[in-house]
Subunit: 406 residues, 2 copies
């Protein structure tokens, strides 16, 4: 057979999805598997979006404009304006999920071999998109010990080379849930201004900020309009991940024109998803209030439950719906697989994502997992109890045993 | 501002869409513009697909499996089996349009700098996908004088280097409408077998074969299962271009596993489009019979009408819904722009695609245009009459004037 490409071989498997066959096998044994491994919330899609799809009045499901349906782009403008973000519809390209927006950004801003600095741990699929675009990820390490705050400016500056073209952040963060402060973002502004870099901000969890904190967008930063790209998506905002609708947003008109060429090549983002997305703009604030209360409750249950377990460390994040927890195990990936293959508690088990795949630095995060609090409170409590019981019997526990030996 | 990437600058503008602003301006002047420039048919989407969308019973529009909804993949298997193509659902990855399937193929099979041989003229966006993937397109030129038949085997072999990894065809062809014979495909089989290349076949127009001819798929070729990739799409088959649902199909399990990693990175193809696509599998044969009769009528009207015009040459293709016509003009792109900017006949004009963008060889196709017969017969007749009138008054006519001078 002909050879596969090297880049295809190097393409990372999704750490979020690679344990799926073990989960399927567990379910075939009749076990309940609590899926805390993937950001697929159980929250209902707003009724207004579902109804718009049910009421489509089309004889032909046509292509839209490559940049997206104009009324939807104008509706998005109003949405951003309400957040105090001064963008016009010409700054917005509707994309097939945030994924495609990020690929457009990488391809338009970076050549193959160029470097993007990303605070780690980061959303694992950034590695996949970087590999696809031939871009090198240069990680700057954030630590669980300070809740994954932005590393100091010196740490970034140490990493900047002639190949550095961009910094990519996710705010609030997947997988850490960390919400960057205005001051942290101003630090980033100073770096990108000084070194003339792009600042790509994945802000898909904008609404999900807790404890009275509010989201500070990179679009609020002054003097760097040409450097800023926002990646957005309806997936989490309206719990409609399957719509596959995102956005690439920049006030840099040359950049947007370049990204549009990539958009034209693939013709059109999904029309049905755009219809759902446009309708979802009418979602009432009461929906978000309810959803955010729900996520805060879940987060509190999860953080409290996890930190009660001997040897588990888990900071309480200010946004999104993920946490990174450190477990008292030698290798979290082995543990995650064992949970699915060899463990059950009342015929239940739990699927979580090993965190090593969220780091670019080798050997970091091997004892950490990402947990998405995307299930209802009862399911979440059962899942935490599963983890608690599992860690009592897992053979490769380290912290407690070390303590005992000492 | 930071620099754009070189590859972003090199990314070609879509020749199909770049005249759009001129068309918009013409419409603002109150002119009727007949859109024969883009493969967006006016044919109705099958009712069974529209109804499936209207009747969705979902509380959450969720991600599907990265490879697509399993019942849909199994339904697709039945669809291919009916055509005598022996593929199983594990060979099929559902993609976001044929576009994404081709990107998966390029990324999985070719490294940056590798070469793909494509008979030209070819679907212009192949250039965009090749640029995106850093792949070099090596054209082998087909000629309007023999209706764009497959160039002889020697022409391919002359072009094969160490960098050659694949041959890409579109069958029936966009933009030529040419339907490859069994013998032509066997020639390709012999080349890919001898040189251990991939053969990527875009078969999205499979149903649209005319004059009693039938489609011969690359999956019918023997002894090259590991070399074959089929790119498919529901866009044209069911006139649902906006669904953005395609497929990557290969019996090479290592290749499919590699492509799946790209699919996992972007999480899921559009869920709503898949629901429409799965339902569309139930489209009755009577729908296709009617649509194919309609396209044959349109093709006949178009070919007859075009060839009647002094200096126009247009072969009659065996499939799809495009023709390439040679016009008696010095530069077809200027002519296409002039049609929109400066011409009207009874307050109507026509938008067609300059064909130079469908060639990779410089200076080829400058007098040719691609015309998509995607409008009803009356509109098509009006559009042809517009072209006829336009060519009577266009200032840069060449053939007739040359004749007069002689």
């Amino acid at each position: 057979m002909p050879n596969l490409s090297n880049r295809g071989l190097e393409m990372p498997e999704s750490p979020i999805r690679k344990l799926v066959p073990y989960a399927e096998a567990a379910k075939k044994k009749g076990r309940t598997v609590y899926h805390l491994n993937i950001g697929q919330p159980d929250i209902e899609t707003p009724q207004v979006a579902i109804e718009a799809v049910k009421n489509i009045d089309l004889n032909v499901i046509e292509y839209s404009h490559s940049a997206g349906i104009e009324t939807y782009r104008k509706g998005l403008t109003d949405y951003y304006n309400k957040f105090g973000l001064d963008v016009s519809f010409e700054n917005i390209l509707v994309t097939t999920g945030g994924s495609e927006a990020l690929l457009f950004a990488f391809n338009s801003c970076l050549n193959a071999g160029d470097e993007v600095i990303i605070p780690e741990p980061f959303y694992a699929n950034y590695n996949g998109f970087a590999t696809t675009a031939g871009v090198n990820v240069v990680p700057v390490t954030a630590s669980i010990n300070d809740g994954f705050a932005l590393p100091p400016i010196e740490e970034f500056e140490k990493l900047i080379t002639k190949k550095t073209k961009a910094i990519l952040i996710c705010n609030p963060g997947n997988p850490t849930g960390y919400l960057y402060s205005k001051e942290e973002l101003e630090t980033l502004r100073d770096i990108v201004k000084k070194h003339d870099l792009y600042l790509i901000a994945d802000e898909v969890y904008r609404e999900f900020c807790y404890d009275g904190k509010t989201h500070y967008s990179v679009f609020n930063l002054e003097g760097v309009d040409e450097n800023i790209i926002v990646i957005d998506s309806v997936s989490k905002r309206y719990s409609m991940c399957g719509a596959r609708i995102g956005a690439f947003i920049s006030k840099n008109t040359k950049l947007t024109a370049t990204a549009l060429k990539y958009a034209q090549a693939r013709l059109s983002p999904p029309t049905l998803g755009q219809i759902a997305g446009e309708a979802a703009l009418q979602t009432p604030q009461s929906y978000f209030d309810k959803v955010i209360n729900e996520y805060v409750d879940r987060r509190n249950i999860l953080i409290k439950g996890l930190n009660k377990i001997e040897g588990v460390k888990c900071p309480s994040p200010g946004g999104a719906f993920y946490v990174i927890a450190e477990l008292p195990v030698q290798n979290a990936e082995n543990f995650c697989q064992w949970l699915l293959e060899d463990f059950e508690y009342n015929n239940q088990t739990v699927m979580i994502a090993p965190a090593a795949g969220f780091y670019a630095t080798k050997d970091l995060g091997v004892r950490e997992v990402r947990i998405a609090y995307v299930l209802n409170k009862d399911a979440l409590k059962n899942a935490i109890e599963c983890l608690n019981q599992a860690l009592k019997v897992y053979p490769e526990i380290i912290v407690q045993q070390t303590k005992l030996v000492q």
